[in-house]
Symmetry: C2
Subunit: 300 residues, 2 copies
């Protein structure tokens, strides 16, 4: 299971009840928080996101609409007596800001916070079931995208058949890894007899804030779900470029070039109250597009 919940989908200014950027990618075991605009902790409460499941937080860049809610979340986690480790992956300067804010408040977090400065493209988290990579995107200040790849899933055990073939339970994990079983008589039980294929590992790419950049397509190639910002509709492509943002059809072009399965668009400018046109414009270029709507959980 891999699912993405949108907690905020607006660009710089909160407007029309839309909040600044924050997303949670959830597996059965753990959650990853991606960006953390002001109000994220309240949005987490509203949409029943369990803070205790979050082991890693990723901050794309240091424009306020992507991180002003972080310090509140970190201190609230401490007030809630969190004990487990938290890993924060972010531009280096954020560590200075957080430490300063804790210092002036004479506050010490009651859980271990490990800060990992984003410096080079590549693997930044090698988890049990998920790997996370960071990659550079082109914005007005240093900015990072994140690519989440599920590891190869174990094959699904057909327990009834395994019993029939008298495979000992101790061997089940090896079956799930694809091994054949050889019984006491020396007979080979082919793996396919007692397991079925694993579900394909899924992938999610978050491109943060970025100007239209064809080079991005290679970095997010063939992911199952691509989030690409669309701050503006297509007619404002000049404004988008001057502010290092993208338009609807630019996002859709990247999705097409990258041959992704599905495109999610967000980071809408507060100049737009109604979002319908965003979708209408994007689907003309890339059909399988959806709007990133707050509170909605997108299954991968």
């Amino acid at each position: 299971m891999l699912a993405l919940t949108i907690l905020g989908n607006n660009s710089a200014l909160p407007a029309f009840d839309r909040n600044p950027t924050a997303q949670v990618l959830q597996t059965l075991d753990e959650s990853f928080l991606i960006d953390c605009g002001e109000g994220t902790q309240m949005q987490m409460t509203k949409y029943k996101i369990r803070r205790s499941k979050i082991g890693h937080i990723f901050i794309s860049h240091l424009h306020g609409d992507h991180y002003f809610g972080l310090i509140g979340l970190l201190t609230s986690m401490s007030l809630l007596n969190r004990t487990q480790e938290l890993h924060l992956h972010a531009p280096a300067e954020l560590e200075t800001i957080i430490n300063l804010q804790l210092k002036v408040a004479d506050t010490h977090l009651c859980y271990p916070l490990h800060f990992h400065a984003l410096q080079e493209e590549g693997l930044i988290v090698d988890g049990k079931k998920i790997q996370v990579y960071c990659f550079k995107v082109l914005h007005r200040i240093a900015c990072w995208g994140f690519l989440f790849r599920q590891k190869k899933n174990p094959r699904k055990l057909d327990a009834a058949r395994a019993v029939t073939y008298e495979v000992p339970a101790a061997f089940y994990e090896k079956l799930q890894q694809g091994e054949d079983y050889v019984n006491k008589k020396g007979t080979i039980i082919p793996n396919e007899e007692v397991t079925t294929a694993a579900s394909k590992p899924k992938s999610y790419a978050y491109c943060a804030d970025t100007i239209y950049d064809e080079g991005l397509a290679e970095k997010v190639k063939e992911v199952d779900l691509l989030y690409h910002e669309t701050t503006y509709l297509k007619d404002l492509h000049e404004r988008a470029a001057s502010r290092f943002h993208s338009t609807t059809i630019q996002a859709a072009e990247i999705a097409k070039k990258a041959n992704v399965k599905k495109l999610l668009i967000g980071h809408f400018s507060s100049r737009y109250e109604i979002l319908d046109e965003f979708l209408m414009e994007a689907v003309e270029v890339f059909e399988n597009t959806e709007l990133a709507l707050e509170g909605v959980c997108y299954q991968l």
Copy 2:
């Protein structure tokens, strides 16, 4: 006119849809923002508080639930192309934090922000119609209360009578200041003939976060409205003291000792979902007490 709108009434953790501390004191001409917890800018939108009318912001202390929403508000004001000056009165370290956050975002505010470090008790704003004083309160870190005093109001002109007595319009301002008028024949028109008494200047005291401190009563003596925190109900007075907070009856005791007209209690701990008991306990000691409820505008 003097009115106080509550934007947030909860202590450290946002809970039960209650937000961290923020209040707006409004006159006909201008608004004063007092503390600015996370989400204040969204609360301002929700409760139709016009940002452009805010000329002064006061931050009592640097615990996050009193200022984490400030940087978002400041940058949003800039995105909304504010041009008029903004005065920020706060503990000195806040300037360093704000400047750092603007620097890493490569952001420059498009309006003049004047930072005034709180250092000594006394007058900090001498406005046209309001004077603001700061005073120290006893909390875990340096913390300030704020006292707002309306200046003497002008007497009310009875325009019809002024015309009857042939007072020239150019003299009206002097009438409002209490002067008698002497007409061309040398006859004295007593001020009381053409004006009525001004409404009494009102006063509001905000005590921020504080342990029970009898000394506070002298500082907020006889104000029309006193805001005093009540993080806990009376049974938790030991916990309150250990955390430099107050209980319901402690707040009410201060109101009584200070002989204020009305007491407003807030900064409720997130351990309480229902607030009724706060009021029940406080009114036993000081009858004219109200709960500080979000979105409610309290007329002075």
